[in-house]
C-alpha cells in the first residue's frame, strides 16, 4: 500500500456551521484497498468531514483530490460518479418497497424497467460479498441490520468503489456486527476501499488497517492499527486534561442520604435491542452524579426510566421519601413521579424536541408544568407569568418579553427557560441531560452554577454530559456507561480523564479483549 498514490486526498478542509467550527484544516489520505477507521469523540467532526466526500456538504475551504486530480463534489450524484458511496446512520428506504425496488429507485439504467434482472444482479452482489438479504423482502419486514445491508448493497449496485459507513455498528447486536465486519473484509479482498466512522476502540482494532483520529474538528494524527495500543488511541482521541475552574462545593455530609436506588435495571427497545443492561447505582442528596458515556450508551433511557417515561424490562428503581418510607418508581405514572419531585430536563439534539412547545410563549411553557393545579377547570395564568419573569430575570434570558414565542429565542436562551422551569418546580431529584448543549461559555457556567445551587439545597442531581472536562470538574461522582452497562463509578475529584475515557470505550477500563 505504501508508495502508491492515495485514492482520495483531502487537503486543508475546513467547514463551519454558523459560529461552530466543525472541521478546521483537516488533511487526510484514503488508500485504495484499505479499511480506514476515522476515530473521534462525539462532535469531533468525523461525520461532517465524510459528508463533504459524499456531497452532502461543501467545504468552506481546502480541496479534494481523487487519484491525484482535484475534483469538486457538489452533490451525492457527483460523489457517485467518482465511485464514492456513503451509508448514513439514518436509512433512506421506502418501507412498503422490496429491497430490489429500493435499490433501483432513482436509477436510470439502460434498457427497460426489469426488476427480475435487477434482482439477479443483487443476488450476485450478495453472493460475492456474503450478504444475507432477500431481494424480494419488504423493508418493513426487515431488522435494522437487514436494512443496513440493503443500504450497503444499494451503494455497491451503483458501482461504488469507496464506501463510507457512518457508525454502522451503533444499531447492531454483537453478532450482527461480526457479520458486517466479515462482509467489509470481503470487500477489501475485492479491492474496495472502506472508511468506517466510529468511536469504539475495539472495533477500530478489530477491523481497520489504519486509523485517523480527529478531535474537536482537527486532525490529531494517524496510526497503523496493528502497531497501535489502545492507550495511544485513547490519548489521541480524548486529549490532555484541560482545567476549567468550575466550582465544586463539597457535599453537605450531615443531610446526605440515599435518594434514588437503581438495582439491576434492564431496558430494551421495541426492536429488542438492549439499551440498559443490569444497571445498578445510587444517587444521594446534595451531590451531583455525573453520567459519562459515548452518546447512545443508554443515558437517555436511564433518565427516562427514572422519570417513568420508559418501559422497563427488569430491575427496580426506588425513591427514598425519608428515612423509613421507600417508594418503587417502576410502573408509576410519570405525572405522579413528577409530583414527588423527580423532574427531568432533557435537552435533545434539536433542543426544542422535548419539554418546550416552540410556538407557545414563555408563560404558556411555564404552564405546561402547572396547568393541572387548582380546583377549577380554568387555568391560572398569573403565577406562570410571574415564574416566567423570574426565570428571565434570574437567568438573564434575552427575550423581548414573556409573551414571545419560545422558538424565536436563540438556542441558549431556550435552554435557560427549560432548565429554569424545571428547577423552579423545587425538585428533590433533578435529572438533567445535555443542559449546556450548544451553549456559549458564559451561559454554560450559569447552568453549572444553577446545578450547584440545587446541590447545595440538598437535591440529588443527575447530570448527563458530553464534555468529559466538565464532568470531571463539576461532578462529585461519575457513573460511566459503556454500551448500556455500568463500566464503573469513579470519584470526580480523584479520577483522570484518561481513566474515564477508557471506561467509556470498554467495560471496566481494563485491557480490550
Amino acid at each position: 500500500m505504501q508508495g502508491t498514490q492515495p485514492a482520495i486526498s483531502m487537503r486543508d478542509i475546513s467547514k463551519s456551521f454558523g459560529r461552530i467550527q466543525a472541521n478546521s484544516r483537516v488533511s487526510l489520505d484514503i488508500n485504495r484497498g484499505e479499511i480506514l477507521a476515522l476515530l473521534g469523540e462525539n462532535g469531533s467532526g468525523k461525520t461532517t468531514l465524510m459528508n463533504m466526500l459524499s456531497g452532502i456538504y461543501f467545504p468552506d475551504s481546502g480541496h479534494i483530490e481523487i487519484d491525484g486530480k482535484p475534483v469538486t463534489i457538489g452533490s451525492p450524484k457527483d460523489a457517485f460518479t467518482y465511485g464514492i458511496g456513503m451509508i448514513h446512520q439514518h436509512f433512506k428506504l421506502v418501507n412498503v418497497f422490496t429491497a430490489t425496488e429500493n435499490i433501483v429507485l432513482g436509477l436510470k439504467e439502460p434498457g427497460g424497467y426489469d426488476l427480475a434482472a435487477a434482482t439477479k444482479r443483487i443476488e450476485q452482489i450478495c453472493q460475492t460479498y456474503g450478504f444475507d438479504v432477500d431481494p424480494n423482502q419488504k423493508v418493513y419486514d426487515m431488522s435494522v441490520s437487514q436494512k443496513q445491508t440493503v443500504e450497503i448493497v444499494k451503494v455497491l449496485y451503483r458501482g461504488a468503489e469507496i464506501l463510507i459507513l457512518d457508525e454502522p455498528t451503533a444499531v447492531l447486536t454483537p453478532q450482527e456486527t461480526d457479520k458486517l465486519f466479515a462482509v467489509l473484509r470481503n470487500m477489501r479482498e475485492d479491492g474496495k476501499t472502506v472508511v468506517i466512522i466510529t468511536h469504539k476502540l475495539n472495533e477500530v482494532k478489530d477491523i481497520s488497517d489504519r486509523v485517523v483520529v480527529l478531535r474537536k474538528g482537527e486532525y490529531v494524527g494517524e496510526l497503523i492499527t496493528a502497531e497501535a495500543s489502545t492507550e495511544e488511541m485513547t490519548n489521541m482521541m480524548v486529549g490532555r486534561q484541560v482545567t476549567l475552574n468550575i466550582d465544586r462545593p463539597d457535599p453537605e455530609m450531615k443531610y446526605r442520604m440515599e435518594r434514588i436506588r437503581v438495582r439491576n435495571l434492564t431496558v430494551k427497545t421495541r426492536d429488542g435491542v438492549t439499551k440498559l443492561d443490569d444497571v445498578s447505582f445510587s444517587a444521594y442528596t446534595g451531590e451531583i452524579l455525573g453520567i459519562a458515556g459515548i452518546s447512545g450508551s443508554g443515558q437517555k433511557e436511564l433518565l427516562e426510566a427514572i422519570a417513568g417515561l420508559q418501559p422497563v424490562e427488569n430491575g427496580s428503581i426506588e425513591y427514598q421519601v425519608d428515612d423509613d418510607q421507600v417508594e418503587q418508581l417502576i410502573g408509576m405514572d410519570p405525572i405522579k413521579i413528577a409530583g414527588m419531585g423527580v423532574v427531568l430536563s432533557f435537552v435533545p439534539e434539536d433542543r426544542l424536541g422535548m419539554g418546550l412547545v416552540g410556538s407557545m410563549d414563555l408563560t404558556d411553557n411555564m404552564m405546561l408544568r402547572s396547568f393541572r393545579n387548582g380546583p377549577t377547570p380554568f387555568t391560572d395564568r398569573k403565577e406562570p407569568k410571574h415564574l416566567a419573569e423570574l426565570v428571565v430575570d434570574e437567568l438573564k434570558v434575552e427575550t423581548p418579553g414573556v409573551d414571545t414565542e419560545v422558538r424565536r429565542l436563540s438556542g441558549g436562551n431556550v435552554q435557560k427557560v427549560l432548565v429554569g422551569r424545571e428547577i423552579a418546580a423545587a425538585p428533590t431529584v433533578l435529572l438533567s441531560a445535555y443542559a449546556v448543549r450548544g451553549l456559549d461559555v458564559n451561559s454554560s457556567y450559569m447552568i453549572y452554577d444553577l446545578l450547584n445551587r440545587q446541590k447545595g439545597n440538598g437535591v440529588a442531581v443527575i447530570y448527563v454530559g458530553e464534555d468529559l472536562d466538565v464532568l470531571l470538574e463539576l461532578c462529585d461522582r461519575i457513573l460511566v456507561l459503556c454500551g448500556g452497562k455500568v463500566s464503573g463509578i469513579v470519584d470526580g475529584r480523584t479520577t483522570t480523564k484518561n481513566e474515564v475515557g477508557l471506561m467509556m470505550t470498554r467495560l471496566g477500563g481494563g485491557e480490550a479483549q
Binding site: 421506502v94 418501507n95 412498503v96 424497467y113
Partner: protein, 331 residues
C-alpha cells in the same frame, strides 16, 4: 322483478364518472397529495366542456350540420384545459407555497362547484329559455354514439357495447394507470415520492415535478368524469348541482379500492349500482326507505375501511406521506 339486463348498463353509466374521478385521485394521492378538490375539479371539467360545445353549437346555423370531429374535440379540449388549470392552482398552493392540503382541497371543491353553477347560470341566461338547464343534444349525440353491434347482439350488446367512447376510455385509463404504477420506473418513483419524499429526494427524484405532474394528470382524468356525466349520462343536459355528491363518492372509492386503479373498475360499477339501487328495488311509496338505500355506497366504504384497518397490511395503507408537504430543509 329485478331487471338485471336493464340494471347493469345503468350501473355502468353511473359508475364511469366515479371511475374517472377515483383513477385521477389515486394517481394524485400516490404522489402524496391529498386532493379533496376532486369534486370541484369534476364540476369544472363538466362545465368547461359544456361552455365549449355550447359556443360551438351556437356558431352553427343548424345543429344537425355538426362536424363530428370538432363536436367531440372542442368540449374535450375545453374540459382538459379547465381541469388542468384546477390542478395547477392546487399544486401551486400546496407544493410551491406548501399550503395545507385539506383546506386547499376543500376550497377548490367549493370554488369548482360555484364556478360550475355560475357559468351554468350564465349560459342559461344566454339561451333565454325558461327551463333552468342547457341542452346540447347534437354534441351529446356524438358522445353517445355506441359501438356498431350494440343494438343487434341482444343482452350481450346491451351490457358490453352500449356505451359512448368515454366509458371505454375510462377503463383503458384505469388499466393503464395500474400498469404505470406497478410495472414502470416512473410508477416506482411516483410511489416513492408519495411514501417517503426524503428518500426519493436523496435518490435524485424531483419531488416537485412528480407532484405537479401526477396531480395535474389526476385532475385532467377526474375532469373527464365531469364531461362524461354531462355529455353521455345526462344526455347533454346541464342543470346546476345535478352532478351532486359523485365527487365525494369517487374519493371514497380511492379508499375502497385501497389505491388500486384496476380494482376501481369493478368497484366503481358496484358503487354506481348501489347508487341507483333504490330505483330498481320496489320500495313502495315510503320515501324514507329510498333514502336508506342511497346510503349504501357510504356504508360499504365504512365497512371496507374497518376491514382493511383490521387486517392492517402495510400495502393497504395510504401512502405514508399523504397530505404532508415536503420541504427538504425540514429534515
Amino acid at each position: 322483478m329485478f331487471d338485471l339486463i336493464a340494471f347493469i348498463p345503468r350501473a355502468v353509466a353511473q359508475g364511469i364518472p366515479l371511475l374517472f374521478g377515483s383513477t385521477g385521485e389515486i394517481i394524485t394521492e400516490k404522489s402524496g397529495n391529498l386532493n379533496l378538490g376532486i369534486p370541484g375539479v369534476m364540476y369544472v371539467g363538466g362545465i368547461c366542456g359544456v361552455i365549449g360545445s355550447f359556443l360551438y353549437e351556437r356558431s352553427l346555423a343548424d345543429t344537425s350540420q355538426i362536424n363530428p370531429a370538432l363536436g367531440i374535440l372542442i368540449p374535450l379540449l375545453c374540459c382538459i384545459l379547465g381541469s388542468l388549470l384546477m390542478g395547477l392552482i392546487y399544486c401551486f398552493l400546496t407544493v410551491t407555497l406548501r399550503a395545507n392540503q385539506n383546506v386547499t382541497g376543500l376550497a377548490m371543491t367549493t370554488f369548482g362547484v360555484g364556478f360550475g353553477n355560475f357559468f351554468g347560470g350564465s349560459l342559461m341566461k344566454l339561451t333565454g329559455a325558461d327551463i333552468p338547464s342547457i341542452s346540447l343534444t347534437a354534441t351529446s349525440g356524438l358522445f353517445r354514439t355506441t359501438l356498431p353491434f350494440a343494438g343487434s347482439t341482444g343482452w350481450f350488446g346491451q351490457i358490453f357495447l352500449s356505451y359512448g367512447f368515454l366509458a371505454y376510455v375510462a377503463i383503458i385509463i384505469a388499466l393503464g394507470a395500474s400498469f404505470v404504477l406497478n410495472r414502470t420506473r416512473v410508477g416506482l418513483q411516483l410511489r416513492a415520492v408519495g411514501e417517503d419524499p426524503a428518500t426519493a429526494d436523496a435518490a435524485g427524484i424531483s419531488i416537485t415535478r412528480y407532484k405537479y405532474v401526477a396531480t395535474c394528470v389526476g385532475c385532467v382524468i377526474a375532469g373527464l368524469g365531469g364531461l362524461y356525466f354531462v355529455m353521455d349520462y345526462a344526455n347533454g343536459v346541464w342543470s346546476n348541482d345535478a352532478f351532486g355528491d359523485r365527487g365525494w363518492l369517487a374519493i371514497a372509492l380511492v379508499i375502497f379500492t385501497v389505491w388500486r386503479p384496476s380494482t376501481s373498475i369493478p368497484a366503481s360499477i358496484l358503487f354506481g349500482g348501489l347508487y341507483i339501487l333504490h330505483l330498481f328495488i320496489p320500495t313502495g311509496t315510503d320515501l324514507a326507505v329510498k333514502e336508506l338505500y342511497k346510503m349504501l355506497p357510504y356504508v360499504v366504504t365504512i365497512v371496507v375501511l374497518v376491514l382493511t384497518s383490521m387486517r392492517n397490511k402495510r400495502e393497504n395503507q395510504p401512502p405514508e406521506s399523504l397530505g404532508l408537504p415536503y420541504f427538504r430543509e425540514d429534515r
